[in-house]
Amino acid sequence: MQVTLQTLVGGLTLGAIYALVALGFSLVYRTMGLVNFAHGQVAMIGAFTMSTFYMTAKLPFVLAIGIAVVVTAVLGLVIERVLRPLEGKDFDLMLIGTIGFGVMLEALAVVVWGATGRAVPSPLHTAPLSVAGLKIQTYSLLVLVVALVTTAMLVGFLHRTRVGAAMQAVAMDPEAATSVGIHVGRSNAIAFAIGAGLAALAGGLAGPMLYVNATLGSTIGIKGFAAAILGGFGNITGAIVGGLGIGVLDAFAAGRFGGYSDLVVFLLFAVLIMVRPTGIFGERTVNRA
């Protein structure tokens, strides 16, 4: 029983990180119909940027993450601007373009921060909470709360603000949105910037739990992507459920199947997607090719 509960706690903690990654994937997808394959690498750049400001410049952790979010949001704008000429013309090239950006960002990180990477010390120094023999890290609780609050804020933004509503309109029908005076390019740019900022938030929060190096992006990127699909690609609430789901699934598979856990997780994932291709929350499939 104790093993089960402790595994659940471990799974939820990493799951919160996957959920934040999934949010960014989903936001860009629902707005543009595009899978941003550089998303994981953007998260990695965010983690490195955070580590520079937190460890080298000695700024407070929260401020360092804030700066990382802004820096990667700008990076998101740059990626969107480079890809914009292809919007509505060649979808495949856009997709390949994002893969290219991912490879480039990973190489760039090695040049700037080196191949060795760095361990980020935890900003919280409190002892783990002990509940009936269970050990719960205060930092894990923080990450979970941040993931939940961020989801709520994002849902609020999309449903209750003018810009958010415009983005929803673009997501549903870009041509109709254009005809009522909504700037599709700007809407896409905002989606990319927020998506990249969310990636930095995920990467920055993952820093003290994991280890920041150039391959961090592919590690959390692939799980985040799976989380977004599982929750229903493009669905914001689905992203957080999918993220926590993948995290917990991963943790239990690791305990039960050891070295075969990846195989089991993705096999189960494949079966779930076959049974329910639209994911748990079944968002309408966007196709803008």
């Binding site: 990493l14 150039a214 690791a254 050891g258 070295g259």
Partner: protein, 381 residues
Amino acid sequence: MVTSRHWFVALATGSLLAAATACAAPGSDSGSSSSSGPIKIAVVDAQSGQLSSLGAWELKGAKLAVQQVNAKGGIDGRKVKLSVFDDQGDPTTGTSIARKIVSGGYTAMIGTAESAVTQAMNPILKSAKIPSITSGQATAITELGSPYQFLNGPTSATYDNTLEEYLTKTKSFKTFAMITNNGGYGVGEHDAFTAALKASGIEPVVNDVVTPDQKDFSAVLTKIRSKKPDVLFIGTEEVEAGLIAKQARQLGLTAVFAGSAPLSTPVYVQTAGADVADGTLVSTPYLSNDATEASKAFAAAYQKAFGETAELHGAKSYDGTSIFLAALKQTKGKGGLAMADAVRAEKYDGLLGSFDFDDKGVGIHQTVIGVISGGKLGPAS
């Protein structure tokens, strides 16, 4: 539709042409190294991907050895030229690099840091008679039966036998738990340490395998905690070992951590946190930069050249490269079997100890036990 078919035809023609040229290449620019101009040596290591930190250290060690020889006038009046290939820690990439090394006329190869990649490249290098020296430590490498394959350090069996003896005899620890991963390195550690324990009649209370990419170890660590072992043996690469140690202490596990080379690195200490890493027992052929006069000189030169502190992997590749360069001096720059024989005949006093290569290509046959204290590795009592 027509356009895409045109594309396909063009692509197919292109790849056929490429294949034809590739087949023609060996005739025009093939194999054996020339006897004038610089001596070409290839460094093959991961410069990108998960294992790139290892690759970066190795490259620095090799570079330093070559710089020092070139500064003294090279070998037989010829300069040594080092070329870097990025194997990404991937065996498939390794085999294509092996072919490039053969067709590029390289005399010898330094690398790789990954046992699996070394094993994949071995047959191609063997048939081309190109000597190579790896930092891999899997026992499987010694069983490849190639006279051109050398190891710049001890095998997993040597590391783990020394460690097991120290833990059971000197420290009188009774119960052991093991975590290893199912990558090339981890499998070697799993087999070597399990065998060493078995020889003493000990069965580990938990012997679990994880994946190299795993980040959360709650399940296995909670299970281990309930068994209360004296020692937790960790057989994974640096970062993963650090994460396991950190999470183990967070979950209230009190066992002593033990393992080989990866646990002696600063990456392990930083990932786990210095307070968690303290007390970790490590089997290593290279205790510290201050151990001998030679290691002091090496560490100073390393610091000067790269602006960072030297560690085991740089020292290993520095030793391996130096041995190869010394052998090339004997053969006056000639590669092939003459060079391989010269390496075997070489009695080299290196940073890791006295090299004396056996017919399996292993030059170092012992390790020492170190302990991490105050975040630094020192000799264990």
